[in-house]
């Protein structure tokens, strides 16, 4: 691991401006690290030639004094973002060979800010999963290893490749997407910062759709400041996404110095389910103490419908997915398996192209939307979703932010929880409620388990109040003094 790959985005930005090294040198250092860490399987596609070409262009702009906010910063892009001329797979067999003719709005914004794409990062197939084990391109390994054991751990999911690459210093930051926890949970498992902004803050245009009322892109980085810098470049109104917000993007970085003095921090009493690791309970208590010491006031709150969030999610998300994934029909792009009739071709293509978890979710979604079941399942779930949203609205009358653990346990072994879908779904018990409510959330690495594995705390705030989110995250980061390097 070289000195260059260990820099934060903020530090690299300064040093690039002072010409201490070139963008090309910075990119080359990361490309070399990627090559050495191929075993992690973090990338589905590496784009070294394109990266060097863009780094050279960055150097020209740096020389000309026309640097963008992320000029010359090497980033990984989750392979759910369409990238012009670069294979985009969503980690699915069904998108074999798909080369978009356009660039997603978020990755375009990151390009416009001068960042350098290193490649496309591995994920759960169509972002459906919590362990990055459903990828057609194989599982990603967590760069962290448990103390004294030679076990391979999952990086979490679905943005598992993004989390592993940032944690192992293969990229300075990465894009993730979060539908029920897919940025926050892998960030917690890999000991990095992951921010899911308010639904509508980042455009969804050109991001392969999973559940359109929940999907939201966000940054994954090693520090809170880096996340603020990256989110600033990713955010903003996009006429091509009708749900993208026509609101000014605040200066997230400026919020970092504002502290948490006087903020009221909600501690939800319902976030203590069976199966919550005692180490995470202890860390959560510590987090409360840190914020108190920094001048915030903890307040016990109630989010009474917490228990209903996961089953609600597992109706709403598959329902939307079954509709969104109807487009994979073997006609317009990707895999085609021939059949005697059009219907047979559809059915064979989709059976061969989708993995088991994706097929399961499409079928559940189809069932809950089908005639006779719509009201009992889908409409019911939409109503419970309204109650979950109201829980948060009521809570934010009393508090400015909410603090919880990110996931009930630290990273588990590759091979565990694979046979029981519901056990896997429980990973997202703390992240799903905020997704349903559309509010912003972040995971901050805050401590290590006795095993030496990262543990994350989650911060939630009101819609459009990412500034308070970043203030609380910065206070936690300052207090936690989390080690920036896994023992890889």
């Amino acid at each position: 691991m070289s000195e260059l790959t260990s820099l934060t985005i903020a530090a690299a930005r300064e040093k690039l401006a002072k010409k201490e090294f070139s963008a090309l040198e910075l990119t080359d250092a990361h490309l070399a690290a990627m090559e050495r860490a191929k075993d992690l399987n973090a990338f589905i596609t590496m784009t070294p030639d394109l990266a060097r070409e863009r780094a050279r262009e960055s150097d020209k702009r740096l020389f000309a004094g026309q640097a963008g906010a992320l000029e010359g910063i090497p980033l990984g892009i989750k392979d759910l973002f369409c990238t012009e001329g670069v294979l985009t797979t969503a980690a699915s067999h069904i998108l074999d060979g798909f080369t978009p003719q356009y660039e997603s709005t978020v990755s375009q914004k990151l390009r416009d800010a001068g960042s350098v794409m290193l490649g496309k990062l591995n994920l759960d197939e169509f972002a459906m999963g919590s362990a990055n084990i459903t990828s057609y391109y194989g599982p990603v390994k967590n760069p962290w290893k448990p103390k004294g054991r030679n076990a391979e751990l999952v990086p979490g999911g679905s943005s598992g490749g993004s989390a592993a690459a940032v944690s192992a210093h293969l990229a300075m930051g990465a894009t993730g997407t979060d539908t029920g926890g897919s940025i926050r949970q892998p960030a917690a498992f890999c000991g990095i910062v992951g921010v899911k902004p308010t639904y509508g803050r980042c455009s969804r245009w050109g991001v392969v759709a999973f559940a359109s009322s929940l999907d939201q892109a966000g940054p994954m980085t090693r520090t809170v400041r880096d996340a603020a810098i990256m989110l600033g470049a990713m955010s903003g109104f996009d006429p091509k996404d009708s749900t993208s917000a026509q609101l000014d993007v605040p200066d997230f970085e400026a919020a970092l110095t504002k502290g948490v003095k006087g903020l009221r921090i909600g501690i939800p009493k319902e976030y203590r389910p069976a199966g919550l690791s005692p180490e995470l309970v202890a860390l959560w208590d510590k987090g409360v103490e840190w914020l108190k010491a920094a001048g915030a006031t903890p307040v016990e709150i109630s989010l009474p419908h917490t228990k209903s969030a996961l089953p609600t999610y597992y109706i709403v998300a598959p329902a939307e997915a079954s509709s969104n994934l109807a487009r994979y029909d073997g006609v317009r792009f990707g895999l085609r398996v021939d059949g005697k009739s059009l219907d047979e071709m559809y059915a064979k293509t989709r059976a061969a192209g989708f993995g088991a978890e994706v097929r399961r979710r499409i079928m559940i979604g189809t069932y809950v939307l089908s005639a006779g079941y719509y009201d009992a399942y889908y409409l019911k779930a939409q109503k419970v979703r309204a109650l979950i949203n109201k829980d948060f609205t009521d809570a934010f009358d009393k508090v400015d932010a909410i603090l919880t653990p990110t996931s009930p346990t630290p990273a588990f072994g590759i091979g565990e929880k694979f046979d029981d879908p519901i056990a896997m779904y429980l990973n997202d018990v703390f992240t799903v409620p905020a997704s349903l409510a559309g509010i912003p959330g972040a995971s901050i690495p805050a401590g290590l388990s006795a095993d030496g594995l990262p543990l994350g705390l989650q911060v939630l705030t009101r819609r459009w109040d990412e500034e308070t989110l970043f203030r609380v995250c910065q206070a936690l980061e300052d207090a936690a003094q989390f080690p920036l390097l896994p023992a890889v």
């Binding site: 060979g97 798909f98 080369t99 003719q101 356009y102 639904y199 509508g200 359109s212 929940l214 109104f237 006429p239 009708s242 749900t243 993208s244 917000a245 026509q246 609101l247 419908h305 228990k307 209903s308 089953p311 609600t312 597992y314 109706i315 029909d329 006609v331 317009r332 792009f333 990707g334 085609r336 021939d338 009739s341 059009l342 219907d343 047979e344 071709m345 559809y346 059915a347 064979k348 989709r350 059976a351 989708f354 399961r360 079928m363 559940i364 189809t366 069932y367 089908s370 019911k380 779930a381 939409q382 109503k383 419970v384 979703r385 309204a386 109650l387 949203n389 879908p421 519901i422 559309g438």
Partner: protein, 95 residues
């Protein structure tokens, strides 16, 4: 709630996903397990609750109903498994 084979076959047809006859029991078991777990929502009182139908609290943005894009046949067909002469090729649909 336990799904029978006929129901799974019907869901598979609606989903346009081929499921082999010998796999129907296993799929029925998995889907039933998930549906049983979801049933717990019945306990929640949702009388007089309006459904939440989207992720945002903002009014969706409107635009003029005019063509803003198009005339990109080559790009549209670039990824088609059987694209030619400006069309997507499919198996014969009319006998």
């Amino acid at each position: 709630m336990s799904l029978d084979k006929a129901t799974v076959r019907r869901i598979a047809t609606l989903s346009r996903i081929e499921v082999a006859d010998e796999d129907l029991d296993a799929v029925a078991g998995q889907l039933s397990g998930i549906l049983n777990w979801i049933e717990q929502l019945k306990e929640v009182d949702t009388s007089n609750v309006a459904p939440m139908t989207g992720g945002t609290d903002l009014k969706l943005t409107w635009r003029k109903d005019v063509v803003t894009d198009g005339d990109q046949v080559d790009k549209v067909l670039a990824n088609a498994p059987d694209g030619h002469d400006g069309f997507f090729g499919v198996p014969k649909v009319v006998e």
